[in-house]
Every structure is written in C-alpha cells, then in structure tokens.
C-alpha cells in the first residue's frame, strides 16, 4: 500500500516536471524578446528540474543515490541562475534593447555602469 502511494507520488512529480519543461519551451518561443524569453527558460531551470529530481528520489528510496540526486539539484539551483545572469548581462552589455512597458524606467541609464566586485 505504501509502495503504491510512493509510486503514485513519484509519477505525479515526474509528469508535473515534464509538463513544466514543455511549458518552459513554449514560453521560450512565445515571449516577444530576449529578456522575457529568459523567464520562460527559467521555468525549465527551476520547477521542472525540482519536480523531476524529487520524483526520481522517491523511486530510489533512502540510499546514497538519493544524496547524489539532491546534490545534482543543489548544484543545478546554484549554477542555473548564474548562467541566466551571465546571458542577461552579456545581452545588456551588447546593447540588446528590451521591450518595456511605458511606465518602466529604461535600461539605457544603467548601461555605462559596471558590476563591481562586492
């Protein structure tokens, strides 16, 4: 009975992860400009990965494998935002203009500034 419940939860998580992966892909295509497409890719980076790894962890039970899966997730959640930020920063330096709402401040005034070492 317990095994059944764990399997069911695992399937649910794996399927949800898959669905969010597809949604991220759709977002990547449907959003209008480079910066907003990053948000679409962000869905695949985060919830999709989290759901799939937790789903797999339920399949593996408590073992060394679970620890490895959690480490994969941890590294992914640390590196994915870094990569996204690197892309966005590169686009900003390369003067890619974002499509913005009228009330929003512009990106141009931040262009000359540099990221400082903190």
């Amino acid at each position: 009975m317990l095994e059944w419940a764990i399997n069911l939860a695992s399937w649910f998580l794996l399927l949800t992860g898959g669905v969010f992966g597809v949604i991220g892909g759709i977002g990547l295509i449907r959003f209008p400009d480079f910066y907003s497409r990053l948000h679409g890719a962000g869905v695949t980076d985060t919830l999709c990965a989290i759901c799939i790894v937790f789903g797999l962890a339920l399949q593996s039970g408590i073992s060394l494998l679970t620890l490895k899966l959690m480490l994969i997730l941890l590294f992914l959640l640390f590196t994915a935002p870094t990569a996204t930020h690197a892309l966005a920063r590169a686009a900003m330096v390369d003067e890619v203009e974002p499509l913005l709402d009228e009330q929003s401040e512009s990106l141009a005034k931040h262009r000359g500034e540099r990221s400082s070492s903190i």
């Binding site: 969010f20 449907r30 990053l38 948000h39 989290i50 640390f78 994915a80 974002p98 709402d101 990106l107």
Partner: protein, 161 residues
C-alpha cells in the same frame, strides 16, 4: 587558513558521499583530487568566508524552504503568462542592496534570478537592476519581501520603516 580547512572537509565529505567505492587505490585518487582542487582554489584566491560550514546556521534550511515555496508560486504565475503572452508588461526594476556581507548580496541576486519572472541584470555594491516579466513578478523585489528575508538570513536587524 580556517576557510581552507573547511573547504578541505567539504571536499572530503563530498568525495566520500559521491564515490561509494572505498578501495585503497581509489581513496588515494580521491585524496589527490581533493588536494588538486584545494591548490587550484588557493591559487585562484577564491577561498573565502562562504566556505565556513555554519555560515547562516539553522536559518539556511528555513530560507531554502521559503525559496522553494516562492519558486513554485512564481513558476505557476509565469506558466499562466506563457499561455497569454500578450498580458506581460516587462519592466526594469532597481532596488537597494542593504546587506552587510557579500555572501548575502550574492544570495539576493541569485534568489532573484532563481524565481522565474525576475532576472538579475546587474548587481553592484549597493544596487540591483533586474528585469521583471510583469507587475506581480516585480513585487517580490519592489515590496522588499525578498530583501527582508535575506536580511533575516544574514541575521541583520530589519530596517526601520
């Protein structure tokens, strides 16, 4: 030096956890790789306060759970926008970075990017510039909700309103 010691402990633990094979030859290889990584890190001068094991203590797991909830919430929001892309109103948001330590500043920038809907464009000593997908997404930053949480994580007192 203290940080280098902690880094070594982390690397040894990580190697032991991932390897799963504890034969003498393999262990020697493990020691060699730990020493190589340690030497490279020291040479690159990247060993710093972030290698302390209890850097945020018990607050870190709590912060992770809070972040997980935020990730799920913002994901659902962005997923909804994916199916009606005409509803987005992209904007640039600038916020203060009121933290003492550099680790907290990086956590702030990283968590901002980690929640879909906001991407950190630039992080300087006292300012964060982010791109947000719409009003609801930008609220995490403009209302200071995330900043307050990171201040709590850092152990700093909350700013007076």
């Amino acid at each position: 030096m203290r940080e280098a010691f902690f880094l070594t402990c982390w690397l040894v633990l990580l190697w032991l956890a991932i390897s799963g094979v504890y034969k003498p030859v393999i262990l020697l290889l493990g020691i060699a790789s730990v020493m190589l990584v340690l030497w490279l890190s020291l040479r690159m001068k990247v060993v710093g306060e972030e290698h302390a094991p209890a850097i945020f203590g018990w607050r870190l797991p709590v912060f992770w759970v809070w972040t997980l909830v935020e990730i799920v919430r913002s994901n659902l929001h962005v997923a909804r926008l994916t199916f009606s892309p005409e509803k987005i109103s992209p904007r640039i948001v600038t916020t203060d970075v009121p933290f003492r330590t550099s680790v907290a500043k990086v956590v702030y920038g990283n968590t901002c990017t980690l929640t879909p809907g906001t991407v950190t464009l630039m992080l300087t000593r006292d300012k964060l510039v982010a791109h947000a997908l719409d009003q609801t997404s930008s609220e995490t930053l403009t209302s200071g909700r995330l900043a307050r949480k990171v201040l709590w994580l850092e152990g700093s007192p909350e700013p007076e309103k």
